[in-house]
Symmetry: D2
Subunit: 368 residues, 4 copies
């Protein structure tokens, strides 16, 4: 049978994508298996062998960890991106990173199709019934998610043995680690462990180190019900150690250095960004636009934040910056600032003008 | 000297308002001293005696704790109100509660003026120089704030002995407390300690109990730099034990029961509410309007959330509700839901139509 | 052949829905034809005969004009609803009104299915090829739309003979009509022609009258390219005579009576409302919520606006209200208002505090 | 008496600033009079003589018209800036342009102070009583405003003789002018009168030409009540001929070329921009940020729009663009597009999943 052409399959080594691989071959396609190394724990060589054995024409194992951190996680940190006030978007950020490389491979290899795990469900590809896992997981450098199975009942508590990326807070060390995180343009550029002086400067290295230290202290666990793009509610449990520390540290240095009104506008853009990432619109004109605007807002977000991590919690301890809008003299209650008490009176009088008119009318109307 | 009329002074018993009391008397006013009991630790009878000794014509000590919880804190919990993503607004919520009662007293007593601590600074009333406190504090049932003094340098860490409302997390109990919080219309109506079965049902009682338990576990400390209404940045440290627990528990039950799109709109209103409260516009038409809309959104926010409090952290463990939009069958990966895979294909195709057009044009333009 | 059950078909009398009627019958359904009279020009009795002749089991002709005005157009007027800054949503508002009655009929008649014109395209029902109209039209009491055919080329100007609901402005009367429109709760309750004293008070009557007068003067034509829900851009030409007059008059009385900050929040809700209506989400929890909030904002939007209509344009001439926040004395440049010039100085000083700090830092940074 | 230093006074030649000039001299300041030529009709040489005669040390007459158009009006056009849905911000845009030059002069001349018309009121400078004008006016290249005096009563219609920048629509020409406006990056770069072929290409020239043609046809009059920054409502009448035409033409080319979702985000930024400009925050970090983002959104807003101006109204006739996202084939009802009817079904099914769940719950709750 002559080939219908090549397709690049995002292959995980697991049962579902293995079945899809075989099915695609049976349909007459040449299958190029693509495994993205995005920081998950996995035996990539084993997966390569399996793919070849199942009939893959070629196998590409691509390490996208560094670009995942720099081009996907960093913008999310700059945006203070939280989906529905809680979820740090670990899976949602990984997908467009994985897909971008898949498309690159397809273009390079002249493949006309790309295919992924959901292909199985959409085309009704038969997947053999196996003893069902008690839940499903999705891991990458930023987080691990748990959902489905026994977790589907939102009243069921997560079983103690579920977590893999963070220590149980009750078993975490009894003394905190203190980290100093330095930011430039809203992005971490240096992490120092204040106790032992350990320092990390490159993106991937410092993110990995934060995962390790924060994970050791049980930081970054959440258990939520979220709204899926397709409209239903879904329960998910996530561990995001480094992301959680960076979310808090960035928030602090941003508040310290960014103008109040710029921050309000940027906050609205950050909400939009989170929604776009969650719904799969990273590669869209609106998400490009929002990322551009947010990056612009971060030009002066620079300085050092000290945080402690302890028993599952991140505490902000202090901050300093060469670009802060904080003016210690002005803020002081002891020193006369740039404004006089009489100014405050005027400010209050003018601000209350509108309210006085409103109440004047209300009493007139009520009096009738 | 004949009186210039009566004024109601919000009197704290401290040095500043004592000086203002004396000064107002010297200017020829009859001073009615008003102390609001809003949950702070204070010797109210001592303050009463002092006010009378300094020449107050009358002294009113008014317990506003219950209305503070029900009419000010509850709307903030419903709103998920966070100023600049972090501050739970403890002081900002207390002010309009205190002021409302002050105006009531003025109307009842026929007083023409109201006056408060800031009056001293605005009128240049001389306050004797005393050994300066290392920081200033403001306490009420919801929180205590620390600022100024040595805290003004944002690089200085808070000294260990600063905190008064929460236990040091490193010294907190080694096992968590588990609390079940029941909500109706977005407001807590019952709190049960799962371990010992203790139950509290009235607003004031359950809030006080949550303060106690969460405080014991060190929950609710933050150290932030925030933007003041008058435009400068200011460093503040806050302890908000019950408020922190309720913020998280409410977020969870709301996400579980509220429609996704309603929630997005409500989220925008909540941001506005927080800003209005912080800037002192509680008693304004726009804040009334926003509170009305948010209350409307909470009609079906009902159910029970289990949380644990441990070493400074709040964990959501599980939730249930008679009004949840969560559909366990639909969410299941094992059961066929209300939609077919072919629907997902259509959904994706239509959603990507716009993106395809955008990229089609981009490549045309680039190709030129 | 036994029936597969009954279905209610939204029948227009035209070719497409006639073909669908026949096809449904062929498939074994009992067809109940439903014609909504929503103000379009149409021979309803002729359509009834045709439906019966084609095999409809029953025909219902329902006049929904009044509920269209009161329950769909009025909320849109209150919301100042404009899709993409220009389109007054004539078709989008009619759809949920028509559909609601269709569902009512289905429930009353025990029909299990509802079906409409788009059914033909979705099920591949063959429609005989006929000489193509130069464009397609959709009419109701609020507007008429023209699209497709020769209008698809956005560079083609609309042909002069296209318009049917408004006079060509170049042929419109040479002197304006002056209308006084009275609003209560943001909704018109009385329209008076100032010249001849004609008065209309009921919703349907006054809306019809405004269509007539504004139409005579050529008011309400627009030619736009809009973004469809499914993602593509589409060119549409619309005539909305009464809706255009009411949009402007309502805007004026709202600005006159509503608090500035309430209005800003309401403006955001109005944008959301327009988007929801356009995308077909009238009957959704979020649209219900938004309508509730907007209605709340309109409680004091009351008063009279005088407008002139002339050669396609609406001019606001004057307004008055018993509930206006407008204070003629305060606004006067001649009379001293509630604030002193010194207040303005204070207001400016405090507002500029933040800007001074920003520029102080910028010069420090630049100077380095 | 030795000088207290120099101050730059924004001098208009009128009574108020003349009195301020004299008062400043009397207080011991050296006064540098500065007249901005921003397109208003004024005898600048006469004003120069008067200033010198009153004792000004130096007089600068600065033509800022070109920078007014390019650096202030163009960003407003790109933003579709409307304050409170109606006001095109003619005065608000001129102020930061005038002020910027004033500061430049102060820096160049080593003056320590700047001063303007409002200085008189703030310092209680006596202005001789003169027969009061029936209203006050403020003119520049973009618009003229009328307010105060007999206009303060919002029920009074504007007297026929008030308007100076636009023809009375009832006396305007009986046939329209057709203009083709070409945009690049959201800014007009060429205006052609289709009838006579007249073409203008530079910013100042084409804006002046549009003022002339649109003014001749009575385009750009509005009569509104607006909310002032200081909180009160105020009635204003404005004529903005060129600005009105460009507002509509830009809206059209933007809708034609900009992605729907980018446009929604940009729309929010435009609302913010209008508010910032109106409240005097042009020179602020947030306004700089917003302008940057909006300019970014305009990169592909390019093409030609044909409009007619007639009896006070602007009509969009047609548009074309090399960068349009409009796809005539896709939009056609005759040609099969990039999506199948089955896709629409899936799109609808998935979109309605959330609504079905909502109604399922509602009926369950109601049934209880």
């Amino acid at each position: 049978m002559s080939s219908k052409g090549s397709g690049v399959l995002a292959y995980s080594g697991g049962l579902d994508t293995s079945c899809i691989l075989v099915w695609l071959k049976e349909q007459g396609y040449d299958v190029i298996a693509y495994l993205a190394n995005i920081g998950q724990k996995e035996d990539f060589e084993e997966a390569r062998k399996k793919a070849l054995k199942l009939g893959a024409k070629k196998v590409f194992i691509e390490d996208v960890s560094k670009e995942f951190v720099e081009e996907f996680i960093w913008p999310a940190i700059q945006s203070s991106a939280l989906y529905e006030d809680r979820y740090l978007l670990g899976t949602s950020l990984a997908r467009p990173c994985i897909a971008r490389k898949q498309v690159e491979i397809a273009q390079r290899e002249g493949a006309k199709y790309v295919s992924h795990g959901a292909t199985g469900k959409q085309h009704g590809i038969p997947i053999p019934v196996t003893p069902k896992n008690p839940w499903s997981m999705d891991e990458n450098l930023m987080h691990i998610s748990y959902e489905a199975g026994i977790l589907e009942n939102p009243k069921n508590q997560a079983p103690p043995g579920l977590y893999t990326k963070t220590q149980d807070p009750t078993k975490a060390p009894n003394s905190p680690d203190i980290l100093e995180i330095e930011f430039k343009k809203g992005v971490p550029v240096k992490v120092t462990n204040v106790k032992d002086g350990t320092t990390h400067r490159t993106s991937l290295e410092l993110f990995t180190y934060l995962n390790e230290v924060a994970g050791k202290h049980g930081v970054g666990r959440i258990d939520i019900v979220e709204n899926r793009f397709i409209g239903m509610k879904s329960r998910g449990i996530y561990e995001t150690p480094a992301g959680t520390v960076l979310y808090h540290a960035h928030l602090d240095i941003e508040a310290f250095t960014m103008d109040r009104e710029v921050r309000k506008i940027k906050q609205g853009l950050g909400l939009k960004f989170a929604e776009l990432v969650y719904t799969g619109f990273w590669h869209s004109p609106e998400c490009e636009f929002v990322r551009h605007c947010i990056a612009k807002s971060q030009e002066r977000v620079e300085g050092r934040v000290q945080v402690s991590v302890f028993k599952g919690q991140v505490y902000i301890l202090s901050r300093e910056s060469p670009l802060s809008l904080y003016n210690e003299e002005l803020v002081s209650m002891n020193v006369q600032g740039d404004y006089e008490p009489i100014d405050a009176t005027g400010f209050i009088n003018i601000n209350s003008l509108r309210l006085k008119e409103y109440h004047r009318l209300q009493s007139k109307v009520t009096a009738k």
